[in-house]
């Protein structure tokens, strides 16, 4: 390779797209490092505070596509204060200043402002794709600037963001000349949309493959949209509580029949059964179905719908489908790869049989040989079921089980679920992500440390007995990147046992555990390359100034992560960086 000119080597590198591989290439030699970094187009930053934009730009001057993640995962469950951080603005400022030819920006759990969006829209002439997931801090005004100024915009994908809807005319802001859209998702917007503007936009976007509208788009508008975009592959519909009249129904069905390319269906925040049945003609083509927001769909309608979906690979539903419904899924959806079953009753008020149990899980594992990812909320579980699931599905990559009641044992034997989860990690040699729940002792962590060799992310809640539990995991799981723990009795001994372990991990989250301020301080002293953040909404005064006795005070929330740029400057008062 030394005799090839750089351009040839660069061309060869072009075929390598995975981040891991490109990172490895850059470690081979100085010259490869240089060629790689100068030609790198896509960069993924899993923690926006691990590095700063200036260093990023310095290393990768040809950057075109950037992915940034901000808040830790548990922010999804309101465990992280809103003002914690994760601001995208400094990144956009730096990229704009350096005149980076940015084309794609993907953000997750970051704070985005209208100002940021405006700056973005004006700074990058070739900007093509904006994907925002679980972000907040902006309004439809920011969207208006993106629509108006990004002449080459192809993708605007807004997933589960908190957006202040000014009910303005942001859709109108797409110029008439804008015809390049391939993907538009505004399902998380709460307000009314300018339907005429939407229809015109869709009509002049022949390459539009993915369209996800919000609740406020009524049935007749949906029908018209589908009629002028029969090429759609991915459709997210609105909210249709009321049964359509005969004529509307016929028109809807006719429009749907024309969408022969449709493979993915979502939305349905409410849907009357007749409406749902209008989609029967295309069910057989569907590979992805998300009905997890439709709390009102009756079980039998759901089952009837799914019976037509023989090619389904991904299914997101509510537990109102029941074990019987899952049995139908198991016998119908032989191509199923990913299943998510969400709880429909969050307050556990009902004592009836609407939820799913271990029966449904076992049925799925027996019926769907290609299943590799599961997220399953249920009321009860048994070791026997988990052992059976492990035997049926050794190919799990992601296994997330959430038993709704914490500390709940195996309901037939009253034992802990250590053996069940142990069977899962032992059988599923490729397991990368695991969430455990129910009654669990240190033993389950012994199993995890012993068998889960590929495990990268582990979520623990209300589990374990002693520090040994956490130590088994830290010592055993060589590929661990993200460890998040809440309400478990792990303390300083586990936290401090192997500080260098955190060099190999992206982050560690511990809340309502046994770690103390003293322990965290000691960690911070021994590991200057870590940011050790203490989050405590009660205390506004500086934790560092409190007297010795408080070293024994338990830390409410601890979030630590490796970084090459030291303590961040934008932390709010409730966050102390040790």
């Amino acid at each position: 390779m030394n005799y090839f000119p750089d351009e040839v080597i660069e061309h060869i590198f072009d075929f390598i797209s995975s981040h891991k591989d490109r990172n490895s290439i850059s470690l081979v030699s100085k010259s490869w490092h240089k060629i790689e970094r100068c030609s790198r187009k896509r960069v993924f930053i899993g923690n926006c505070y691990a590095i700063n934009p200036e260093r990023l730009i310095e290393r990768f001057p040809s950057l075109r596509s950037l992915t940034l993640k901000g808040k830790p995962h548990f922010a999804d469950f309101n465990l992280v204060p809103h003002e914690w951080g994760g601001f995208v603005h400094p990144w956009i400022v730096a990229l704009a200043k350096a005149r980076v030819g940015l084309q794609e920006l993907r953000l997750k759990r970051m704070v985005v402002s209208d100002e940021s969006l405006e700056l973005l829209s004006r700074s990058f002439a070739s900007f093509k794709s904006l994907v925002l997931v679980s972000c907040e801090g902006f309004t439809t005004d920011g969207l208006a600037s993106v629509a108006a100024n990004c002449r080459h915009l192809r993708e605007l994908d807004l997933q589960e963001n908190e957006i202040e809807d000014h009910r303005g005319q942001w859709l109108n802001c797409f110029p008439e000349s804008s015809t390049a859209l391939t993907s538009l998702n505004f399902s998380c917007l709460k307000g009314e949309t300018n339907l005429a503007a939407l229809e015109r936009l869709v009509a002049r976007s022949p390459n539009l493959e993915s369209l996800k509208v919000n609740r406020a788009v009524p049935l007749d508008a949906l029908t018209r949209l589908m009629s002028c975009a029969p090429q759609l592959v991915d459709l997210g519909v609105g909210s249709y509580e009321n049964e359509p009249d005969q004529e509307s129904f016929m028109k809807l069905m006719a429009a749907i029949k024309k969408c022969t390319e449709l493979r993915s269906l979502s939305g349905f925040s409410e849907v009357a059964p007749l409406c749902l049945s209008a989609f029967y003609p295309i069910c057989q083509n569907l590979t992805s179905l998300n009905l997890s927001y439709a709390a009102e769909i009756q079980g039998n309608h759901l089952i009837r719908f799914i019976q037509f979906c023989k090619r389904l690979q991904r299914l997101w539903i509510l537990d109102s489908i029941g074990d019987k419904g899952l049995e139908v899924v198991a016998s119908t959806c032989k191509e199923l790869q990913e299943l998510r079953v969400f709880p429909s009753d969050l307050h556990d008020e009902e004592d009836n049989d609407t939820a799913v149990t271990e029966i449904g899980l076992v049925a799925i594992s027996a019926g769907c040989p290609k299943l590799h990812s599961i997220l399953y909320f249920c009321k009860q579980m048994t070791n026997a079921a988990l052992i059976t699931v492990a035997k049926n599905c050794p190919n799990f990559i992601r296994f997330r089980l959430c038993i709704l009641e914490p500390n709940k044992p195996d309901h037939t034997t009253s034992q802990s679920l250590d053996e069940g989860f142990g069977a899962i990690v032992q059988a599923c040699k490729g397991l990368r992500r695991l969430s455990v729940s129910g009654l669990l002792t240190d033993k389950v962590f012994l199993y995890i440390g012993m068998y889960a060799e590929q495990l990268e992310m582990l979520s623990i809640a209300f589990a374990g007995d002693t520090d040994k539990g956490m130590l088994y995991v830290l010592n055993g799981c060589k590929k661990m990147r993200k460890l998040e723990i809440r309400d478990s009795p792990f303390g300083n001994a586990a936290l401090l046992a192997d500080v260098d372990k955190y060099r190999t991990m992206r982050s560690l989250w511990m809340s309502s555990c046994e770690v103390t301020l003293g322990g965290c301080k000691r960690l911070a002293r021994n590991a200057p390359w870590l940011n050790v953040e203490i989050i405590n909404e009660n205390e506004n005064n500086d934790l560092m100034e409190r007297n010795e006795e408080d070293e024994r005070e338990k830390v409410d929330r601890l979030y630590l992560y490796r970084t090459v740029v030291g303590a961040r400057k934008d932390a709010p008062p409730c966050v102390t960086i040790l």
Partner: protein, 194 residues
């Protein structure tokens, strides 16, 4: 801030197979119910966030389950946008949940939009697509089903006994049971309440 003995026991090394001493373990563990009590304001210094702290008050209170922050781990966007979550705000407007034995889903019904028991009977029939539920409201003994409701005091009462106005004010939710199951249920006898 005194911590003391109980906490020490929580971190104590325990040998032995899991499954033994489960109840003992559950009490000594920083248990779920302790979490509820610390988060539901038993210690006024703490915010709503679950934290270590007070282990003195262990009080079994199933109704408080939903107060643990961030549990179950459903992301806040989904919580806000899931219809059933929205139910809890609708209850005050006359919507009550209706469950029917043997049917794997819940419906809701707006009592405020019914004029009386006849109306309600008709609506329930329509809701579940089963004839005869409504008949039970009026006809007492001739029907396969009984319709019962939970009142403000948490008691289950047979629907149809009290005047309509009183009924819609006190009804928190409805349940349609098979008559055969109802006998052992523990319904309040007629006329016991105002």
């Amino acid at each position: 801030m005194e911590k003391g003995g109980v906490e020490h026991e929580i971190t104590e090394l325990r040998l032995g197979l899991p499954g033994r001493d489960v109840t003992e373990k559950m009490m000594k563990k920083r248990g779920f119910t302790e979490m509820i009590m610390t988060s539901s304001g038993s210690n006024s210094d703490e915010s709503g966030v679950v934290s270590g702290g007070d282990v003195e008050k262990i009080n079994e209170s199933p109704a408080a389950k939903s107060e643990v922050v961030g549990w179950p781990p459903v992301c806040s966007y989904r919580r806000k946008n899931s219809c059933k979550e929205a139910w809890t705000t609708k209850v005050g407007l006359g919507y009550v949940k209706v469950s029917m034995d043997g049917v794997p889903y819940l419906r809701k019904i707006d009592l405020g939009s019914s004029q009386g028991y006849d109306d309600l009977a008709f609506a329930l029939d329509k809701l579940f697509g089963v004839r005869g539920i409504g008949v039970a409201l009026k006809d007492g003994d001739n029907c396969e089903y009984v319709t019962i409701y939970e009142d403000k005091d948490g008691d289950w009462m047979l629907a149809g006994d009290v005047p309509w106005g009183m009924f819609i004010e006190s009804c928190k939710r409805l349940r349609i049971m098979k008559r055969s199951d109802a006998t052992g249920f523990g319904l309040q006898p007629r006329g016991v309440d105002e």
